[in-house]
Assembly symmetry: C5
Homo-oligomer: 374 residues x 5
């Protein structure tokens, strides 16, 4: 994190955890657009076993016109800026005020709620912003007897292949009704967590290699980043487990088909994601510990160099200092007689050499010389 | 925390966790005002679908007079100094002694209890004192068939908009009875935690940037403060989950209306608050670890500077010391002949330069020169 | 903990966690007095709605005489040295052998057991010994249809006010039978934990201020002490939750009165105590982390001083050393000509000054000069 | 981890945690071979109480031919490269599409699912790759009324002895049907974890001895490796507990024999494995803490050596420096008269010796001299 | 752990966590003696209310002869080397193969299993080997309607007093049947954990005193040892809770007597043991933290000494160095005129003294002088 993060990224992160947009104590059901709401764009796909009709950038009239003409109507709303349009769509499908308020909150924990005529799900999809930071986008789904209504905060999602399958008419998707569409969307959301976890797994492996081989390339910033991303994903994935458990226990709405194995398969994937996230969290925590101990070891190395150099030379310098004293050899027989001895200098140097070698041997014995293997 | 905290702040904090005011073994139901109790001020609002009456600073007679004349009577008591008045109000609404004792305790964990004629709730509202420190104020609510009785320790609350809605008569609040008022108060309390968490989220982000970019601006004091605030909020929010769960399971008192979606919505918000608090706690704990490792790295940097300087100059100083010795070159051919050599000084300086350059190269190879990137 | 703790204190602490006094494999129900048992003293209070009789230091005959003459008989035994007397009292009230053995164990975890004719409770009361250390004293209660039998290891308890209330005859205590007395005792035990927690709360606050303002006044010993005390209290309080839950679910023995709100109130207090203890444990753990990082920072400060001084003076000393060398300027033009230059000394000093100032500027830039703000 | 890990090993590790091979949003039941899939090889063993027939490297026709001719048919598929063959086998035994997709996923958490005609199990077997690193191989088992179908990612397994028992016809295996074979396979998988844990146990013991006796032989890399291996095993073993619990509760399929004690025995072994893994995790975490504190102690030792040497010699060098000053003794009576004193030198040396000895005594008193016992 | 642990100890420890002795995939119920099995010795005690017969070192014939002649037959087998004899005894009492296999496994987690004719328990008894290390020995108990069959790995147990009670015929043991004997054995096993925990408690207290008073006597080795012992005991005690819970819920076999209070008492003891173990684990973990911070503080002290000495003397040595330079005072008026000044030397010394005193005052102000109180 050498550079200050971009403003956009900071906004997104902050947005991911913001309080409701309404003032404290205001009426429930009051709709207020989030401050950074994107332009609203509606895309409608109506389809049945034999027909398919798609309107990109649909107006409210299009939605009303198509309603009832297809076995399943999938209305996808990208961007939440146009409150009036949202309210009109909400009214058309008899959505509860409080549910619509939750759609706008942008910060919601994933959840599942059953209303009389439809199920309401809030999910979180992983998403990358320009700066590369990971955050989760809120996806709200209303699933009724003949419609699926989805709201997304940002443009762009992971449903392109689902749309393709509807258009192509291959597989069961065209004939199995709105509940199968709900399953297909859930499955796509769950699958979209895998690449994120794979990327994090690779980062952790890289960090592992770096921390053990060349610890200078690692920084606490990188490890901390990974842990924060894992916390984000965890917030998104954990509630899915409960949600899929609930959905599977619920009696089917308007569908004689048994989708249970499909939702159970989805549930298994979520359990596996949770398993991976917790394993990665453990690994990242262990990595931090290893890193701290590596930093300690590096300090030991530095101190050892200093100590070896200082310990060898300080006594030598002292000896040199002694014979640098200006006591007058002429003052008496005990006054530095060495200075006048013909071999004084050589003996002095020899003593210094012996002292230095002695120190080196002592260091050798303590194992301070030679590089550590790790 | 450069300055000693103000006395007022310390009092509040201490007050937030104090033992009951009564001596050990005293009769249950004995009412003792807390030592720092504020002046009691009663505000009554009576309202029905078509009428509203409000008395600020009401006397007990006002309360008795208004009783029964409105569909809902909301008596709000600020400050708990006037024990006699509390007891009189308690008697009027047939409040149990033990419940009234809990109102005065000022330290209670949030809870919900069902008595025959009313429900009793203790909640904790986040509040800032002058010093800026966060603490939680105790709010006790008695919710009966035609009244809502609230007690607050301190003046000032988050219910202004609720009062405004009652006065304005807009929305459902005037027509849906005391249970809807209870919901409105609960909702306001829950919402009042969001700004606190937002502030903490911003502090954590700031700390993250500081710890990684300019670690000197961070201090353990700041991180510890955040963690303590999170503990405070946690104490206030966790029990709400259980409380809202209980309320939703309870059969409605005197209300044919289905408030279940409202309480469930409130419950979802609490679950989300808990989720945020736990995420922030994880982040703050990770931050502390990062900070500790940053401190270790800073030490490494300091030691490296010392070691480089000392390791280069100590051998040089030793060489200078050797030629500073006063052995008499006249004493013999082995007695410091270098001193008289015409190039002795230059060679000596060259040896010194080579030694220094050699050390620098060695440090370069170890990667000790140049700043670390983080 | 500058001084070795007093022997008495050590005994108490050791006593608080000792194995049963009987040899392994001995018969169940074998009664052996604990080695440090105190002198046995029995105090009996018999009372009914209209009468009260109290015998301090009662003999067994007193107990037998008073039995059946009062609605409630409270026999309180202080000190467990006199095994024979305990056995005689146990036989009189038909106490099971295993229960009586538990009374003598002195180390028991709080528990609640229901026998045919009485309930058996083991509680732990916080207590301070002379040295000031905290430990918990074992209180065993047998609560039957017309008697309450309490055993304490040490003399002195927190029931003085309860006795006063019985003697005074005020409130419900005289008329509501032995189960209300049981509640009063439980309530007093629960309340007696509050001052301990308050004291610990104050210690933690003091430690927080000290660790952040003047870390030298803190020591790990003080933090560790607080944590150990919290562990002690925790051992005493946690089981109370389960116990009070069980008691409340139990059908009342011989009492037509509904004591449920009282036991529930007591239960709420225990939940709150647990909440406080866990919060304090979190705070103390955080404090330890902060302290460790403060110690690291202090080291940084010390190292910085050393590094600044050494880094400035070591090069200067080297320069001085160079011109202290005894090369003979007369030996040739390259042999220390500076020594004879009239400005040599001044230039040399100037170079030294520039070097020192350069170093200071460099340190300034790194931000090493000036005190850290925390 | 002195050397970069081999590519093969890295592939395996990465493979152990990879996303599904299909693109996000693709149809459920779409079969895509994993990128590193091994060549498919089918081995069929058909057996009954009296007969046994084995075909190594069987073609699909062999499978079809043998089907129905034996009481039990065990088809074992090694390597998942040949999608068409897998599909054909799947169709023959009426395997659900989603289950077959899970077989190919290679990353699945162990699980147990009950379909109408067969049970579906995913297990993970520990396996060593060339580099020596531990990973877990996915084993998928379909257990029907007269067949057991097993899929393995890699060649080589732990079932050789099971095959031997079938061929030899000893024990119950030939007569007790497919469910007993399922038990035998499960038992072998569970048993195959023991040698891995034994190896880890030995590594931990070795690390314990090393860390306490000769800490230089330990490195964080080795401890971290052990912890990562334990995480891997844990991922494989934990779900087995739930699976065996489920199997035991399930009514038997087509088998009048009571296999319950066998599955319960297997369950006990899994519980024991979990117990061991958690104990080892605790030990390894403790080891890391000990290692960090050992590193700290080593630093203390290094610093002590430096401090002792520097503290003794720096004052001595200063004294020598003083008498090396060139003040002219002839300048006046206060100008270094010591230099001319006949005993000046001797006294100077004596002072130095006394200073050094004083320092040594002081260090002795602080307990800095002498080696630490650990 | 100054010395390498003895081989015997290492064997025992390794044995405590070893894989089953059989190869992977072998038939269930195959009996293989553990490699370090001790010589088998059988001791039989038959008794009833009025009779008792004991055979030490019994042969199989003795067992068969005594069978049916006593109300209760207690066969105790020490050492598991003689597989044939074990098999014969197993056959006599109709023991299931898998259970007998578990007896030989030597590594089993404590468990309780109910077979048709008997209950099967595996327990772990704490035991000390010569080296002083703690480990747990496996005790397997089969408890039928008229026999109790116990298997121990090593000779020597904690049942001497139980045997004494049977021989003496005092108490209930002779008359209450095999289930009471089972209780007596369980009780003895549970009691045998107390001395171990007491010893650990004393070690922790000693470590606490040492770490705070004289930290040099502590070593991480000692703390780690305590933690490992606690892990061992924990492995042995935790499952007992579940086991005793199960036994108490089980209907009595062939015993009209109510042993419930006895098993409940035993259960309470186990809960208390768990409580103690967890408390000790918390204390030991806290101790490790304190120790790490003590090590950090000690480093601070060492660095402070070095810094004080170096900071005082380095500038002084520099001054001395300056006046040791050989610039020729005769070269000019700016060339070291101080050297010829009559007071130059004295002034120089004075400047040195002032510098040193200034430094000391500065250190005093920072609070670096004087010992730290802890």
């Amino acid at each position: 994190m050498d550079e200050a993060r971009s403003d956009d990224e900071a906004n997104v992160r902050r947005g991911a955890m913001r309080r409701p947009n309404k003032p404290i104590g205001a009426s429930p059901g009051l709709l207020v657009a989030p401050p950074d709401a994107k332009r609203t764009r509606v895309r409608v796909i109506g389809y049945g076993p034999d027909s398919v009709e798609e309107v990109v950038d649909a107006r409210c009239e299009d939605v009303e016109r198509m309603c009832g003409r297809h076995a399943v109507l999938w209305i996808n709303v990208d961007g939440l800026a146009d409150i009036d349009r949202l309210r009109r769509i909400g009214k058309q499908f008899a959505i509860h005020d409080l549910a619509l308020e939750d759609v706008l909150a942008s910060h919601h924990r994933a959840k599942w709620e059953s209303f009389d005529d439809y199920d309401f799900l809030v999910l979180r999809m992983p998403e990358h912003v320009e700066g590369g930071a990971l955050h989760t986008d809120q996806l709200s789904i209303f699933s009724g007897t003949n419609f699926v209504l989805t709201f997304q905060q940002h443009h762009g999602d992971c449903f392109d292949l689902v749309r393709e399958r509807i258009r192509g008419g291959k597989g069961r998707i065209r004939g199995w009704g709105p509940r199968y569409l709900l399953y297909a969307l859930l499955d796509a959301v769950v699958d979209s967590y895998y690449p994120e976890l794979e990327a994090i797994g690779e980062q952790i492996e890289e960090l592992e290699d770096d921390v053990l081989v060349d610890s200078k390339r690692v920084s606490h910033a990188r490890i901390h980043e990974v842990r924060r991303d894992l916390l984000q994903l965890r917030r998104g994935v954990w509630p899915l487990r409960e949600i899929l458990h609930e959905i599977d226990r619920q009696p089917e709405r308007a569908s004689p088909l048994d989708l249970s194995p499909y939702f159970r398969d989805c549930y298994d994937h979520v359990v596996e994601l949770i398993d991976l996230i917790e394993t990665y969290r453990d690994l990242a925590a262990g990595l931090m510990e290893v890193y701290v101990s590596v930093v300690g070891n590096r300090m030991n190395e530095i101190m050892k160099v200093l100590t070896i150099i200082a310990t060898i030379f300080i006594p030598l310098t002292f000896i040199a200092g002694v014979y640098g004293m200006n006591f007058d050899p002429a003052a008496g027989p005990w006054s530095m007689p060495e200075l006048r001895s013909p071999l004084g200098y050589v003996i002095c140097l020899a003593v210094m050499a012996i002292s230095a070698i002695g120190m080196l041997i002592w260091f050798k014995r303590r194992g301070w010389l030679g590089r550590r293997e790790t």
